[in-house]
Amino acid sequence: MLLKTMKILVCVKQVPERESRFLLDASGKGYSDQGINFVLNPYDEYALEEALLIKEKLPGTEITALSLGPARTEKTVRRALELGADRGACILTPENYYLGPGETALQIAGFSRKRGFDLLFFGIMSEDYMRGQTGPMVAALLQLPFATAVVAENISSDLSRITVERELEAGLREVAELPLPAVLTIQSGINQPRYPRLTDKLRAREQKLEAITGLEPLPPGRCAELLRAFFPPSSPAGTFLTGTMEEQAEKLIRIIREKTDVL
């Protein structure tokens, strides 16, 4: 009997917790990580969950979680193990090292080459840099087919193809079919990410991670140059209402009645 299993890579990024307050770092090009609590990119939880759902259907499937970043990134890989990934790997970068999209993709592609992944999963975007570029770039580097903003997927019974629904604008969807191996970026809402099980939590604490040091060299001159980061204008375009809560509610009602006919 044919043993139906898959090898899936899930790229998980470490990002600041959403409610964080940010200050610029010494270089003025990014945010300072002082006092910031880092978590697994919430968008990547959907990608990992989708891989776990495939594993439930095809037991024996092996899920590798990979993250690229400074030493603290290990915590995020362990989080992915707690959630159910089988293996964890870290590509370590120096502290305060800026990772552009091209360089991130180059490292992930380098890691993935020759490991025989059938599927490479990415989040739709990272919550800090919000680019949505890494998945398609890795696909191009590895010459694999890809689909972005996937909200449904189905693997053919012979494991040779995957049918996906991509989310377009205003509720429209596109149905596409790709041969495996393939790269997908997973859109939020595709599933409801799970909470860790105790057994996985215990396993994750002990398990050894693969640590990769030494980055693949970048071809010169092809990356955009980051000049600076800065805060958006702090003055709001609109007007803050003032006074007690009661007064603000009264003012708001007055404004609504003045400017519209809905009240």
Binding site: P16, L24, G30, Y31, P101, G102, A105, D128, Y129, M130, G132, T134, P136, M137, A140, F146, T148, A149, E165, R166, E167, L168, E169, A170, G171, E174, V175, A176, E177, S188, Q192, P219, G221, R222, C223, A224, E225, L226, A229, F230, F231, P232, P233, P236, A237, G238, T239, F240, L241, M245, E246, Q248, A249, L252, I253, I255, I256, K259, T260, V262
Partner: protein, 321 residues
């Protein structure tokens, strides 16, 4: 490489999408000659329409494989065109089609790639984009001598409205495309929603600031106090299953312009504001005085929604009595 700016036009179902006028307006901020590229089959009517509407010179890339959107087709055809002549910037809308092929195209061409930009600074030829949900901006530049694929966030510039007197030229190039791996099968229409946001006069919209699912009742109650009031939502609430998808406002939900839009606990991500910023009166209830929603709201109530909304409901009730 020349100094040209090429815009890759977007169309769907035989129609040029409005985002193209925004890209033209964006391109006009950058010094250089503008050309528009459009891919489709048959592409001629689309190319002619763009040339007429924008006055720009248009190149139509035609192939029988280009009936439906396919990233491999876009990459193949644009690469062919760049084999003859390379622009300084390739501008692509940051939409579900654009963000799909643009990064891979940059890799194919050896261009730098800058995603979801909202502005161009002509002083030092830099692009501006949001990071960290809009809490910070970053400024990037494609190094001299390096072309760039740049995706432009919809809704970030006012669309071009210049009256065009003479249409641009149209050139159609036809190509055979080799075997494709990815097959686009069809498009599925949006599921009919349970709410009609388009006809609502008032939308009370809830975001993650709601924190507790039960508070949706507060939002419902407030919306019900208006004759044609409806409940809207930011994407995370629908993702979590707190409200059905039909309530979602924004890029991947509905585009609305009610007389009153009350954004409760919504931070104002571009994907959200894209769908509501043309509302008549926009009021934000938000505890963060720096939330990006305050850049589109006309009035802001800087308090905890769970305390403020009951007070507001009470006062409106009194009014109705």
């Amino acid at each position: 490489m020349n100094k040209d700016i090429w815009i890759i036009a977007e169309h769907f179902d035989g129609r040029i999408r409005p985002v193209n006028s925004e890209l033209i307006a964006f391109a006009r901020k950058i010094p250089g000659e503008i050309k528009v590229i459009v891919i489709g089959h048959p592409v001629k009517p689309l190319a002619e329409e763009i040339a007429r509407a924008t006055g720009c010179d248009v190149i139509g890339l035609d192939s029988p494989a280009a009936v439906l959107y396919n990233s491999e087709v876009y990459r193949y055809l644009i690469k062919k065109l760049c084999g003859q002549d390379q622009p300084r910037y390739l501008l692509v809308p940051h939409t579900p089609f654009g963000w799909d092929y643009a990064p891979a195209l940059a890799v194919d061409l050896g261009f730098s790639a800058i995603a979801s930009v909202t502005d161009f600074n002509p002083g030092n030829s830099t692009f501006i984009r949001q990071i960290l949900n809009g809490k910070l901006l970053e400024e990037l530049k494609s190094p001299p001598g390096c072309s760039a694929v740049v995706t432009v966030m919809p809704g970030s510039v006012k669309p071009e409205t210049e009256i065009i007197t003479s249409p641009g030229s149209v050139r159609i190039l036809e190509f055979e495309i080799p075997q494709l791996k990815t097959r686009t099968i069809r498009y599925l229409p949006a599921q009919p929603g349970t709410v009609n946001l388009k006809d609502a006069e008032v939308i009370v919209a809830a975001g993650r600031g709601l924190k507790v699912q039960e508070r949706i009742e507060l939002i419902r109650e407030l919306a019900s106090l208006f004759k044609r009031g409806a409940v809207g939502a930011s994407r995370p609430l629908c993702d979590q299953g707190w409200l059905p998808l039909g309530h979602q406002v924004g890029m991947t939900g509905s585009t609305v312009s009610p007389k009153l839009y009350l954004a409760c606990g919504i931070s104002g991500a571009l994907q959200h504001t894209m769908g509501m910023k043309n509302s008549g009166l926009i009021v934000a209830v938000n505890t963060d005085r720096k939330a990006p929603i305050l850049q589109v709201a006309h009035f802001c109530v800087n308090t905890d929604l769970s305390q403020f909304i009951p007070v507001l409901i009470e006062k409106i009730r009194k009014l109705h009595e």
